[in-house]
Symmetry: C2
Subunit: 213 residues, 2 copies
DNA sequence: ACCTGAACACCGTTCAAGT
DNA sequence: ACCTGAACACCGTTCAAGT
């Protein structure tokens, strides 16, 4: 169990798990994941580094906590059909990650043991089962879509290969000069990546496939 | 350019970029990514930490180099139809990552600027173009498949959420007791993940979709 | 119950010096 | 051209002490 403590501790300017996690997220947003350190975080909170350990189990648990904060920001999908629900959740997930691009890898790359990660799972699984999917197929479908979401978002958040570095004008030239015929032919498209369009394209394919059972 | 130096330096027991990268990969395989440090790597090589900097641009460049070593292990696909080629490459990619599961996140997670990453791209794009795909669609398809591959492999390599911790027998009980109806109903399937089957399932869906234009 | 600060065993990297 | 070692500015975390 990696969830909240029993009682929410009073928050009179004092330290608390929530305050620490929020400040950690702010730190990641501003300076990036690599810049996070217990000491720097403590400095920002005006406390001794070791005080953090009264509310958080260590750096790794801290980052898990931040990931959970991000996940909790995914809104519950409005009730609707299978396709609408899955699409809403996929977009909610994407929006939550894009709202904190530098922190997103925490969600996308960590094995979250927490139960808070289950709310979106329930929201996807419910409609799939209601639509008559046997549970095994439903889980299959969920995992295929999730894999795609994680992969696209990693790319979008600049943690995974695009074959287009975001602002590099020499990239096209490099690709064209690669000597690889297909790469050269497709260079103008490889050099640019419309993340929104890629997301919709892949999502549509997967949802189509699921609809056809 | 993050490629090799001009001349391959003689390798008489001395240091070299290749020797450093190979040792780094071995270190990751044995102790995991977090355990990698320039100092420890130097210790294993029997040299002063600072000697590494004569062959590698710093820790980040070192890790990029290891990622490229992994990528280079993907075999060129045997000539064949569109579907065979894409499938062979996907499996080659997967096998390369599973051969070094602890190092795989380096490939899956980093923005590789290197040109060595282009060989597999060429191998996929070639058949797509030959099959009559307009370059824009070909790139779309490539990116959708790649996103799925990255997402599944992240999960497989235990860097991304499965909803089943690998060896945790209490997981099923946790899921069943979650109070979420759909999660409870699907708990037996959520608690277990046959990576091989998930991989084939998702890949088939995507390749089917691409075949249908 | 919470906070503190010294201390331990580490980091990556710069720089001046050696061969 | 390559290697070295001291030094700098950091880390995460343990532990004993305070309130």
């Amino acid at each position: 169990m990696t969830t909240r403590r029993g009682r929410p501790p009073k928050d009179l300017g004092g330290l608390s798990r929530d305050r620490i996690l929020r400040e950690a997220l702010a730190l990641v947003d501003e300076e990036g994941l690599d810049a996070v350190s217990m000491r720097k975080l403590a400095r920002r909170l005006g406390v001794d580094p070791m005080s953090l350990y009264n509310h958080v189990d260590g750096k790794d648990a801290l980052l898990d906590g931040v990931a959970e904060v991000l996940l909790a920001a995914i809104p519950a999908p409005p009730p609707g059909g299978l396709r609408e629900t899955m699409s809403a959740l996929a977009h909610g997930f994407r929006d939550a990650m894009l709202g904190h691009p530098r922190a997103a890898p925490l969600v996308l790359t960590r094995q979250l043991a927490s139960m808070t990660a289950l709310a979106p799972v329930e929201a996807v699984l419910g409609p799939l089962l209601a639509a008559g999917f046997p549970p095994e197929r439903a889980v299959h479908g969920l995992r295929a879509v999730l894999a795609f979401l994680i992969g696209t978002l990693m790319r979008e958040v600049e943690a995974a290969p695009t074959f287009s570095s975001t602002g590099d004008p020499g990239r096209l030239a490099d690709l064209s000069a690669s000597g690889l015929p297909a790469v050269t032919a497709a260079a103008p498209y490889l050099a640019v990546c419309d993340h929104e369009a890629e997301f919709e394209f892949g999502l549509r394919i997967l949802l189509d496939a699921l609809s056809e059972l």
